[in-house]
């Protein structure tokens, strides 16, 4: 416990000093929330809809910071620590690899939670947002999405041979998911063809889950995304622990 606390404190400080995550995981979702709020205001999602377009899109906001931390932050910090031989230093101490990964996962979870709270409060105060669905279901979906996306990131960081490849894979995952999963550009305004491609991304499935939960849509819509995310998370977590390399 002492190890975890000290590591978390130190690594969180280092991460904040780096500033990238403050920008990509905290500021960016906030800015997008404000832009969507200004553009769509209280307009309904479609003719006769019981919820607004903004309320529908809002559920995707937490996904922006999960995406930034999970597929950008996590893989880069793990591969950077490996290439700088910081992990090798840890190898000759009693710390377990799981502890090293857990500390980083908690740091990026904190960013995501802070981002969720700031966007939620902003949406509620300035754009009259209210969650119609179940908050419990939403949080359940939220942490499932977080675990799945983070496990993808851990796997990428874990198996990339060097920082350069890790950062290429991270970019290939991050930018398409950020733009086409519905996290920033609303899924509903995409043409049908693009929606089909977007459906292949784990984050798109996650966002569907979050939207269903926050809007209170029937459960049969969520079965596929739910299974998809759970299976993916199990695979990625297994691979990242099984193939963890110090050097």
């Amino acid at each position: 416990m002492k190890t975890f606390k000290t590591m978390l404190k130190t690594e969180l400080r280092l991460s904040l000093r780096g500033m990238d995550m403050v920008i990509f995981a905290i500021c960016m979702p906030l800015v997008i929330t404000i832009i969507l709020g200004i553009i769509y205001g209280k307009r309904p999602a479609f003719e006769g809809a019981s919820y607004s377009f903004f309320a529908q899109s809002f559920a995707a906001m937490p996904a922006i910071s999960i995406c930034a931390g999970g597929v950008m932050g996590l893989p880069l910090v793990v591969s950077d620590y490996r290439s700088k031989r910081i992990l090798k230093r840890f190898q000759v101490t009693p710390i377990s690899p799981i502890m090293i990964l857990l500390v980083q996962v908690v740091i990026y979870t904190l960013y995501s939670v802070v981002s969720f709270l700031t966007t939620y409060i902003t949406a509620a105060i300035f754009f009259g947002y209210q969650m119609n669905g179940s908050l419990g279901e939403f949080l359940g979906g939220y942490f499932l999405v977080l675990i799945t996306i983070f496990s993808i990131g851990m796997m990428v960081g874990g198996i990339s041979p060097n920082t350069k490849i890790a950062s290429i894979i991270a970019s290939l995952l991050y930018f398409p998911m950020l733009i086409f999963s519905g996290a920033t550009l609303p899924y509903e305004v995409m043409p049908a063809g693009l929606q089909k491609i977007a459906d292949l991304m784990p984050l798109t499935q996650g966002i569907k889950l979050l939207k269903a939960a926050s809007l209170g849509v029937a459960v049969d819509h969520v079965l596929f995304p739910l299974i998809f995310l759970v299976v993916l998370a199990i695979i990625c977590i297994t691979v990242s622990i099984r193939y963890f390399r110090w050097e």
């Binding site: 002492k2 190890t3 606390k5 000290t6 590591m7 130190t10 690594e11 400080r13 280092l14 000093r17 780096g18 620590y81 700088k84 031989r85 910081i86 090798k88 230093r89 840890f90 190898q91 000759v92 101490t93 009693p94 710390i95 377990s96 110090w246 050097e247």
Partner: protein
């Protein structure tokens, strides 16, 4: 006397080129052992095979009777390591790194005392990237001592240190040795080796060319001091060809 570091018939090659061949080492508790050799002679490979950061092709290496692969966590509770290259996170301060390393152990030494001992206490709040080469070197020796270890591995411990700092480090290590610490070091400074080491091993292209005390090394060579004797052992072919 209890053997703390035990290496038997150690072999390791990279892409079929042998880096270390049949190396045997025994280090008794409370003694200082020096592994010598030119760059690329196999010193770092030997250390890494003993520590388990590299897997030997054949042979056995144990520390405190434990296998570094099977007993990693238990073993490194009692063993401190300073690698040749300094590895640290970007934008981390001296105190932060020390505190982080200290938190990994059950019964660590207070790092502040070590920083004072090694004249780095006033640098606590500085970024490590701002330290001079010698200061960084001292910091990484400190990190190896934080676990309050029974055995410490120091790979080129005083490279880059000025004369005064070097002597301070030596004095400190000698004092720890008196208290029972076992030290395994590599060095290019024969002055350091003569002062510190109870036994030495000279490697040449991965093979042991000398194993024994400093005095024995000098006696079995045609020379009067360790530096000359060391060169004679590690460049024997060259000498013979020219005689």
């Amino acid at each position: 006397m209890e053997i703390v570091i035990h290496v038997k018939q150690l072999c390791k090659s990279y892409h079929n080129i042998p880096a270390v061949e049949n190396v045997n080492i025994e280090v008794p508790r409370g003694t200082i052992f020096g592994l010598l050799g030119a760059n690329g002679a196999g010193k770092s490979t030997t250390i890494e095979c003993i520590l388990g950061t590299k897997k030997p092709d054949s042979g056995i290496a144990t520390i405190l009777g434990m296998n570094p692969f099977a007993d990693r966590k238990k073993l490194f509770e009692r063993v401190g390591v300073q690698f040749q290259e300094a590895a640290y996170q970007e934008k981390i301060t001296v105190a932060e790194l020390c505190e982080e390393i200290q938190s990994l152990y059950q019964n660590p030494t207070d790092y502040k005392d070590l920083l004072k001992q090694f004249g780095l206490f006033e640098k606590s709040k500085n970024m490590i990237s701002e330290l001079s080469g010698g200061q960084k070197q001292r910091l990484f020796v400190i990190l190896a001592l934080i676990p309050n270890p029974e055995v410490v591995f120091l790979d080129e411990l005083t490279t880059g240190l000025d004369t005064k700092a070097k002597r301070d480090v030596w004095k400190y290590l000698m004092a720890l040795k008196e208290k029972g610490l076992t030290i395994f070091l590599t060095s290019h400074s024969m002055e350091e080796v003569s002062i510190l080491c109870d036994k030495i091993c000279i490697l040449k292209k991965g093979n042991t060319v000398f194993y024994g005390t400093v005095e024995e090394a000098i006696e079995s060579s045609p020379h009067q001091n360790l530096e000359e004797a060391y060169l004679w052992y590690s460049e024997e072919e060259f000498y013979n060809e020219n005689i």
